[in-house]
Symmetry: C2
Subunit: 149 residues, 2 copies
Amino acid sequence: MTNRLERICLERGLRMNEKRRVILRVLDKAQDHPCVDEVYRRVTESDPRISISTVYRTLKILAQAGVLSRVEFGDGRAHYEEARDDRHEHLIDIDTGKVLEFRNGAIETVLREAAGQLGYRLLQYRLELFAALEATADGFGELHVRERD
Amino acid sequence: MTNRLERICLERGLRMNEKRRVILRVLDKAQDHPCVDEVYRRVTESDPRISISTVYRTLKILAQAGVLSRVEFGDGRAHYEEARDDRHEHLIDIDTGKVLEFRNGAIETVLREAAGQLGYRLLQYRLELFAALEATADGFGELHVRERD
DNA sequence: CGGCTACTGAGAATTATTCGCAAGAACCTC
DNA sequence: GAGGTTCTTGCGAATAATTCTCAGTAGCCG
């Protein structure tokens, strides 16, 4: 079962080999946003002979090819996640360091408008929210949010 | 003529000396968001004997004390600006690398609401818009930020 | 004035990441 | 399936931004 990411790589003219497959598999399975070291750690569980250089290089190439997305959380390291076409935002829980993903179309709209008011067209943006759990429950019950790292 | 920033420093229990005054003056006069190297360059015009260590250290301390704000524009360097109490956003022109500042209360509102919907209270956020003048460029291309500013 | 501490300069150390190069492997062509 | 071009890999060295160490210096408060 050739996975989805592997197929996309081939479509974009990237060569495929077992090391690259291992890296792709790690990111395909990841439920979080691992940094390079963490990807390396996971990757070496499958193939201890892979080098950190290769991980750095491959992640960079895959991000440039749009197979992965590079995210930065202000911790001085690059984090990667599988690229998806649905834009989503990241909220970092100040207390636990956990990263929540959520979607909110209004954000993109507001930002696009703000850029527009300056005569610009928004191409891309970097956004991270730092927040703390509200002391009081809001009584709206379970919100379905994927908890990630 | 003791400047405003210097006064704030004293209020927060920071010691004052001529080197620190020079750094403060540079940031007080700055109309942009200089990175550490750039601050160092400007500072050495007044006092060539100041060291880059001191610039790094002082900028960090001043930012922690809330006298300055540290901003990151995705170019891998820290940039500093005088801290102000009015929240403002940054838009990076991807063609020129120029950084525009603007105010837009709607942005903060939307972000605060988004956090609220997740049960969180927004404490802080990092936001950078990358955009091109309406007329120019098309599509979501590579984003490269140039030095300076 | 005197002392407790914070501040400074210089260079070494750290951290994250990229580069250079030679060897090895994909993939296209015939 | 052989061959060759070009991409990929591993390793260690190189960068780049930033922090740390440490000894010497100097604010600031009493």
